[in-house]
Amino acid sequence: MSSTVALIIIGVAVLFIIGIKLLSSPKTARIGNLIAAAGMLVALITLHKPTGDYVWSQGWTFNYTLIAIGTIIGLIIGAIGAYSVKMTAMPQMVAMFNGLGGGAAALVASLEFVRRSHSLEGITAFIAGSMLFATLIGSLSFSGSIIAYLKLEGKFEKPMTFPGQNILNGLILLVILGLCGWLTMNASGGNATMAFIVMFLLALFFGIAMVMPIGGADMPVVISLLNSFTGLAVAADGFAINNLAMVVAGTLVGSSGTLLTLLMCKAMNRPVTNVLFGAFGSSGGGGAAGAGDLAGKTVKPIQADEVALLLAYAQRVVIVPGYGMAVAQAQHSVRELSDELGKRGVEVQFAIHPVAGRMPGHMNVLLAEANVPYDQLIEMEAINPSMDRVDVCLVIGANDVVNPAAREEKSSPIYGMPIIEADRCKTVIVMKRSMAAGFAGIENHLFYKDNTRMLFGDAKASLNALVAAVKAS
């Protein structure tokens, strides 16, 4: 590798690091993304083969035609996916792109492995190990991401479990690791290709088996984890084909993704092992007990015009958005209501739970789409201390993230999860389609509190009624 190429790769690495750094602040995030993209472009233009040859100065062969066609097809798929997807379906799209990246990482490693095992250059155990790692993690990430995508699309959302599942998965993993171990030692042997294919297929299956038992509510954590997996697979590919830029980029994603996964789990107050192996929604015990306590209590419904009066004459209103708002596509109506109240001098804030919706930051993205300025969005820790001074708290399609059971009831499956303490406000209005339970599958005590009123109906329709009523009052 010439020193010019080395310098360029250092530059690319710096662009990626600065890009990720800027992505972690709202003011600079967009430029950060563009800087990372610029790094990618530089790396593409200066791409060198493992042998040190400049890729784009080789003779144009059929393979290059294939590269050009493949690139264009991928570009079209990516562009259609990125620009046609609804803002509510953003998490699925990230899962899909991640899966494709994982699949690519597995294919690259496989091709390199099979080529090297048939060639005379031989493979060191280290290189064989990194190719096997990339294949295993990449294909697992591919199939796992597709299941995560389908779950977020509402297909088999419920966790799928059967007795002994964790043991079976453990056995499959052991077989995979055994095959990998054997292949590391016998990479050039006659049976290597066959064993490799078996390993590949088992890894694909393992990705499915790993994600199937996890409930739809935990998909964000799963996607974040699979994202960091793909990063590591890419880094391992970088080792295998001797491409430093891939090692750096993949590792950065792997480690920052791991940290992000842990941050998300921390926001839900659950250890990551519980998310992956706990089969959250299937434990009905806490829910049943909760329902028993509430047997004698009833909820108190309210009409839109009455809510409008409460809102219009309040000093301070806090809106707690949840997935229900996303489903009803109600973010624009929410903005309208907040503007209308703002004009009347009401202080309106949005309380954002870190895991509201289907992905951390999901609500922020949706509200930003509706032009709600981000300084009006307050994070849970920042708003909780002042909840006592809030006149009206409007809960729009959020459920588990405002459930006081997380604070009060030790038997509840969500006990210990930090919540937005909506129940401490003077009046709580819960907008909801029905009394159905939230993602965690448990009753919400908030709905039965004395200061809570239920406004039933589709969130968007209710909000439009509220806007009209506030204008009239």
Partner: protein, 93 residues
């Protein structure tokens, strides 16, 4: 060579941890999406293997790898940009 790469690998782990240690949860999704685009660098891995593919099977699989990688990198950056485009401080009139 191997030890040099390992050295870089270890340093990159720490940089990755350090660089996002203080990120507000509102940016978790865009950040995940942005890092998702960065691992799209596997696209180049696809190009490199396909450029040297010698058998029809290798060409076919390399071709798929290029499509997947290309969709990952282009789609990843575009979807992230689309998310972030919407973050703005002042209300539009």
């Amino acid at each position: 060579m191997d030890t040099n790469v390992l050295f870089i690998f270890i340093l990159a782990i720490f940089v990755g941890f350090e660089v996002i240690s203080k990120v507000p949860s509102m940016l978790h999704t865009p950040l995940m999406s942005g890092t998702n685009a960065i691992h799209g660098i596997i696209f180049f891995g696809g190009i490199l293997v396909l450029a040297d593919a010698a058998t029809p099977l290798a060409q076919a699989l390399g071709f798929i790898a290029v499509i997947f990688g290309s969709a990952n990198v282009f789609g990843g950056f575009m979807v992230t940009d689309r998310m972030l485009k919407m973050f703005r401080k002042k209300k539009q009139p």
